[in-house]
Symmetry: C3
Subunit: 350 residues, 3 copies
């Protein structure tokens, strides 16, 4: 029997099955420093213990997306090693703050299966969950991937397609954000004077700056997350493939866009939920990422007057500045520069 | 009103104005590891807690230049986002040791203003200060930059040009260095047997080794410092600019030269002050940095017999080994290989 | 007298001489994060404090190879700055776990000298030792290098060639691994169900994945180890040399192969010893590293029933997948794709 991991194929997944993922991971200030070096993030809550403690955190929490990437990375060897395509994700909520020293582990529950009509592949829906060392749930999200069958003759499973929300409701947001003392929130130190109430649905914000990506950067990032997806690391094989290039992990683009978004959203200190996202086209090293954001919705969080929620749609582009808010060229087709279309909720002081 | 930071223009600065900079930053051993990986620094005091504690530090202090870069980075969005040129810095003193876990923040006080005769730009002088979480001053320096006016018709301010010292005096040095137990300073572990008294004014030291710089390295470094100057990160825009290349942050060159200087200055464990520096010409990725140093002055520090001060002039070059001490080609012009001319004080055990 | 280190030449070494190396180095979680980012290592013991503590470690130990690289790096300025060739290493044992916060230092004892018949070079054998801040021995190994003479007329020393073991014996293994509670070792979290007893001598394992190396990555790594060997960093000089390229530190290849070997050896959580290794040909940036392993021997460790030892031979290649186990093309010559042939002992739960 082979000792190497060949990954799961479509017929290996069963509804209700819970997969325990390797490798648990202690998150440290070393990871935080690397995350800063990779993206240049400047949100004060994640950058300074003194700032975070003043408003009610134990210390600076680990960046939400770093938590996401680490949990996501764990699921790859079991869920998407034989994936033909990452189709989507939804219903992603951050449920408890993660601090330096916490050990993260992950499981995935199979919640949907649908064989494709070609009989060669199928769509697997999993709800992945990240836990800390006290078995507290810190993150959960649903994603669905198209996976190859090992044996095309294996019978199709009963079709189960989960019903997923288009967006999280405001009353589901904020579990990972302690009640903050908004009077202690120093807007000068935070780098922006704009509060939750200053943003209006329909408002579009160009984040102005561009960031060029290098091969070593996206590989350092993706290895930091212990994400083993082959397409990111192996130029020998990818050089003979469809693009001739290593593909950049989609999460790297999300983190770049989030970091760029500080310029215009400096007080959006916490991502509370990701409603969905689309990696519209691939990014390659040498290209420069820009981003802009539209405010989709402004919502109070029931029972809280310290922070409010903004639902944002952030668009990232490659080699295309975003002052003109590039998005669609017609009803169906994205502008060719668009690489990411992300729908998510952030929290801001009121 | 735009939510993005457009930076300050010349007419936004007023004499006496104090600007609080975003983003406070907790410095950690993660930053130290990255700093080591970026420059390969080998000074024992900053490398080993056991060594630092033996001579009187609480633990290894954060490298002086890492402190400088972090504080400097904070000032960029407010001071130099609309800068045409970084003209100089002076009067830079390190005033208290910074340890892992300390949170740094920064302010700048406007101490000089001088509109240029063209009426389109002006020179702004600021005294920038870095503080720790106990509001203790850890660093201060003056820098002056040429900044665009937003409105060329805005009136010129009264001209104020601060008087700046050519060099710090010896009695102003050493506040960031505790009284050390020089008998516990292990010269074998430190990697050099040469003490303060072994260096003579006029002595020239070739640091021998060369270090090639890659795009991802200088960008990782500059993001680590949360320095947002656009010219370092955006190949899309810079590719259409004057050099066709991303410019490397001048502080990256200083740190490379400092690290190379270990070979010949192994016991110069603390930079006490920077008298001034000139970034003679730009550095680009792919080029190799070399460095040599001339000892300008040797000074006792009044009241201290543990350490003495050396005033050094370190010259960094690109693609030019420094055995022949390249510097000027005539009275006015630098050798074209020279990229940095730095005048600073270091401390060494006596 | 020159202040720069010119390194030791052949006639500077004396049998019995003990050299204290600079620079002591505190290892931190920052180093751990960088190590993860550089190689993507996924062994659970080194990744998660909670996992390590469950089986009997104080917390996650520092990766064995990170300890090796840091100790090795210290020896370079004294042992191999004037080396013509790194000829080999042997008898390498890990003797105590190293934890975040420990300060490592190193010495080398000269145990062999043999002038070459050309009278211009000689072979120096040293036993290098790494210590923690409590002067506890954490690592030792022998290496031998060919070093230039400063003065070809200096007399040849008496020839001493140490007798070195071809491999460590099983009873010499395991000092750096506490007695583990194998019942608490969670094979699902570890990512592999294969125990020590599941591996058979003669078994060959292809580790499948490939990892492309970038210039900035190997330089970040080698600087992190404070290894100053000139050939890794200086494109200006190396560009005019034999290969026209910077050479990649051989230890970088070992760490890449070790990380790739997780796929197939996921429970080989500790390298107990390195019997020997050969860097068959150089690696350059842009090439992709693959690896495969043959199990050479399976051994019980006298007095321990928690873990057993596997003696492994791991072969790394460049730009050559390893499903066919490339190795020799005839009795004497390696396949041209082979870059590393490493013989070592790992421990696995029984």
């Amino acid at each position: 029997m082979s000792k190497t991991n060949t990954g799961n194929f479509f017929e290996d997944f069963k509804i209700g099955q819970i997969i325990t993922h390797a490798t648990p991971r202690t998150v440290t200030t070393g990871d935080v420093a690397l995350y800063t070096a990779l993206y240049g993030s400047r949100f004060a809550v994640q950058s300074a213990d003194a700032f975070a403690q003043a408003i009610g955190y134990e210390e600076s929490p680990i960046d939400d997306l770093l938590v996401f990437h680490i949990v996501f990375g764990k699921t790859v060897p079991d869920i998407s090693l034989n994936a033909v395509a990452n189709l989507g994700y939804a219903d992603c909520r951050f449920l408890a703050p993660v601090y330096s020293g916490d050990t993260l582990s992950a499981t995935s529950e199979v919640i949907g299966l649908k064989e494709n009509s070609n009989g060669q592949t199928g769509v697997v829906y999993v709800r992945s969950r990240g836990f800390n060392q006290s078995h507290e749930l810190v993150l959960e999200y649903v994603r669905w991937v198209m996976v190859r069958k090992r044996d095309v003759n294996s019978p199709a499973p009963a079709e189960v397609v989960p019903k997923l929300p288009r967006a999280l409701a405001p009353d589901q947001l904020g579990d990972a954000c302690p009640i903050i003392d908004a009077k202690k929130y120093d807007f000068a130190l935070a780098g922006s004077k704009h509060r939750w109430g200053d943003y209006l649905p329909g408002e579009k914000i160009d984040h102005v700056d561009g960031m060029t990506v290098e091969e070593s950067e996206h590989m350092l990032a993706t290895r930091l997350y212990q994400n083993t997806a082959k397409v990111h690391f192996n130029q020998y094989t990818e050089g003979q493939g469809r693009f001739g290039r290593r593909l950049i992990y989609g999460g790297h683009v999300i983190s770049l866009a989030r970091s760029l978004s500080f310029n215009g959203l400096g007080n959006a200190f916490h991502i509370a939920a990701i409603n969905g996202g689309r990696h519209v086209s691939p990014l390659f090293a040498g290209l420069t990422v820009f981003a802009w954001t539209e405010v989709i919705e402004r919502a109070e969080i029931p029972g809280r007057d310290d922070v409010g929620a903004l639902r944002l749609r952030t668009i990232a582009t490659k080699d295309q500045p975003t002052a003109a808010h590039p998005l669609m060229i017609d009803e169906k087709n994205y502008d060719p520069s668009v690489i990411l279309d992300l729908d998510y909720w952030v929290l801001m002081p009121r």
